[in-house]
């Protein structure tokens, strides 16, 4: 089932959660890597 046809009202909130969690993951990678680069 494509989510484009999906009227499920829970999906927008799910997308927001996914975005926040994804940004946390990218943030950990970035913070970690840039700190290492700055320390080097």
């Amino acid at each position: 089932m494509s989510d484009r046809q999906d009227p499920d009202p829970r999906r927008p909130a799910a997308r927001r959660t996914a975005l926040i969690v994804g940004l946390i993951a990218v943030g950990i990678y970035a913070a970690f890597f840039f700190r290492a680069v700055l320390n080097a």
Binding site: M1, S2, D3, A18, V21, A25
Partner: protein, 554 residues
């Protein structure tokens, strides 16, 4: 036969075929390559995992064949090192983790009453990254092995410690890019699990009414989000050290190779729990079903899982005691590691208490679950021994460590995956598996896995180092026994494959009811077996009595 007694406590719904797509016809390509359906993607993950299990298993058999008797006889030592390295990478990232993601895909939406995973297209992407990642990972080894091209795969151990790991050729780049892709896949899978559980639960499916499998996966997903970027950072630095002239881990350039070990194990220890927490969830589903009792201490199980996840972040240096660290640090990591035994003990006692005075039956999933409780606990105890700093100085890098983590990962994680597959296979396929063959698979696996790994404790205590292709003749007898166990265990898995072929392809076996097992409780068991292609398109009305944990007071 015991299995007949367990059929159909619930009404058997009309058998909606799983291939019924609600009038929407899909070609083979559309269904399996472009799928956004959680059940199909779950199947893809599980098939991929099974293939990797056999590739990794073949590598293990090369290792055990070489170690059958002392001396170098079958493979070159360099190739042996490639086998130990690749066996671990394939089994961890290719077999165990995708198997749990496959089970999560299949079961979590059905358990929480969601129509699918929260982000179905990203779900497809998460899976389809994996075949490309493993093609990259296996390519240098395959080219060398089958065509004599290049220098072979990585041989510095799955931990990729520099400077050794950087002494490989271009396989370093292949391995690092493959690990990046696996990491992206895992992070996207974890995001999907979190968004599904947080946002897509049916009304009335409160967090503390969810099946324990959903809870353990939710916590595992947060672990993945926290540590996969750390691994990605570490291997990115390895890449730039190797190919772009940086010196993050190069002492000659002012870097610190020990720093890599700290970073790696900050990922690596939570990774161990990523591979065992979903296993705890599966066992917590199976034991109540076959004991015909609610899980003892549901909330304690949830909090114990969260405690284990928290502690997993503050114990990483127990992998590095012999590297050297301040005494205070060694003491901290020792005691923090021992502390993990407390919530783990809570879980083991809760499983035992669930079985206590239950109406137990011993179908194959329950047999694997009971074996899990006993054998995983052996792995836990040897872990406690390794946590003791002065003892670890003796055990470190010996076969005792190999025995320890194989008890945790084979009789722990893989036995739980087997248990889960037998438990849910009738639900997925609509037919009962062959119980007699299932029991043969269980008993042969359990006997041979102990023949394989238990003697390795003695080898380690006697001082045999790990990752060596040859050894002192003093270690000959136990190595011989261990190798016999390895081949026995390996061939026993062919029974599993045949059972899967019978159920999934030949559809041979008794028809499964919607409830499948007499004691099964939960939303997923209210659906027909096999469930229709799309389930819970409208959220179900939840009756607490149908849920395994509908009564919040227990």
């Amino acid at each position: 036969m015991a299995e007949h007694a367990t059929y159909g406590a619930h009404d058997d719904h009309a058998h909606d075929a799983h291939d019924d797509h609600g009038g929407h016809q899909q070609s083979f390509f559309q269904r399996w390559f472009c799928s956004t359906n959680h059940k199909d993607i779950g199947t893809l993950y599980l098939v991929f995992s099974l293939i990797m299990f056999f590739i990794g298993g073949a590598m293990a058999l090369v290792i055990r064949a070489e170690l059958f008797v002392p001396g170098l006889q079958l493979v070159h030592p360099e190739f042996f090192n490639q086998m130990t390295t690749m066996h671990a990478l394939v089994m961890i990232f290719g077999a165990v983790m995708p198997a749990f993601v496959g089970l999560a895909n299949w079961m979590i939406p059905m358990m929480v009453g969601a129509p699918d995973m929260a982000l179905p297209r990203m779900n497809n992407w998460s899976f389809w990254i994996l075949p490309f990642a493993f093609t990259l990972l296996l390519l240098p080894l395959a080219l060398y092995t089958f065509f004599g091209i290049g220098g072979g795969g990585p041989a510095g151990g799955w931990t990729l410690y520099p400077p050794l790991s950087l002494q490989g050729g271009n396989n370093v780049a292949f391995t690092i890019f493959a690990i990046h892709m696996m990491g992206i896949s895992s992070i996207m899978g974890a995001i999907n699990v979190i968004a599904t559980i947080i946002n897509m639960r049916a009304p009335g499916m409160d967090l503390l009414k969810m099946p324990v499998f959903c809870w353990t996966w939710l916590i595992t997903a947060f672990l993945l989000i926290a540590v996969m970027p750390v691994l990605a950072g570490a291997v990115t630095m390895l890449l730039t050290d190797k190919f772009f002239g940086t010196s993050f881990f190069n002492a000659a350039g002012g870097g610190d190779p020990v720093m890599f070990q700290h970073i790696f194990w900050f990922f690596g220890h939570p990774e161990v729990y990523i591979m065992i927490l979903p296993a705890f969830g599966i066992i917590s589903e199976i034991i109540p079903t076959f004991a015909r009792k609610p899980l003892f201490g549901y909330q304690a199980m949830v909090y114990a899982t969260a405690s284990i996840a928290f502690l997993s972040f503050i114990v990483w240096a127990h992998h590095m005691f012999t590297v050297g660290m301040p005494l205070g640090a060694a003491l901290f990591f020792m005691y923090a590691t021992m502390l993990i035994a407390v919530p783990t003990g809570v879980k083991v006692f809760n499983w035992v208490s669930t079985m206590w005075k239950g109406s137990l039956t011993f179908e194959t999933p329950m047999l694997f679950a009971i074996a899990f409780v006993i054998l995983f606990t052996i792995g836990g105890f040897s872990g406690l021994m390794l946590a003791i700093v002065p003892a670890d100085f003796q055990y470190h890098d010996t076969y005792f460590v190999v025995a320890h983590f194989h008890y945790v990962l084979v009789t722990g994680a893989i036995f739980a995956i087997m248990a889960g597959v037998y438990y849910w296979l009738p639900k997925w396929t609509g037919v009962m598996y062959n119980e007699m063959l299932g029991k043969w698979h269980f008993w042969l696996s359990t006997i041979f896995v102990n023949v394989l790994f238990f003697p390795q404790h003695f080898l380690g205590l006697a001082g045999m180092p790990r990752r060596i292709p040859d050894y002192n003749v003093a270690f000959a007898d136990f190595n011989f026994i261990s190798s016999v166990g390895a081949f026995g265990f390996g061939f026993a898995q062919l029974i599993f494959v045949w059972i899967l072929i019978e159920c999934c392809l030949l559809r041979k076996g008794a028809k499964a009811t919607s409830g499948v097992w007499e004691g099964a409780r939960g939303l997923e068991w209210t659906l027909p077996s096999p469930p229709p292609h799309h389930t819970f398109a409208t959220p179900p009305v939840i009756d607490d009595r149908q849920l395994a944990h509908g009564d919040v007071t227990h």
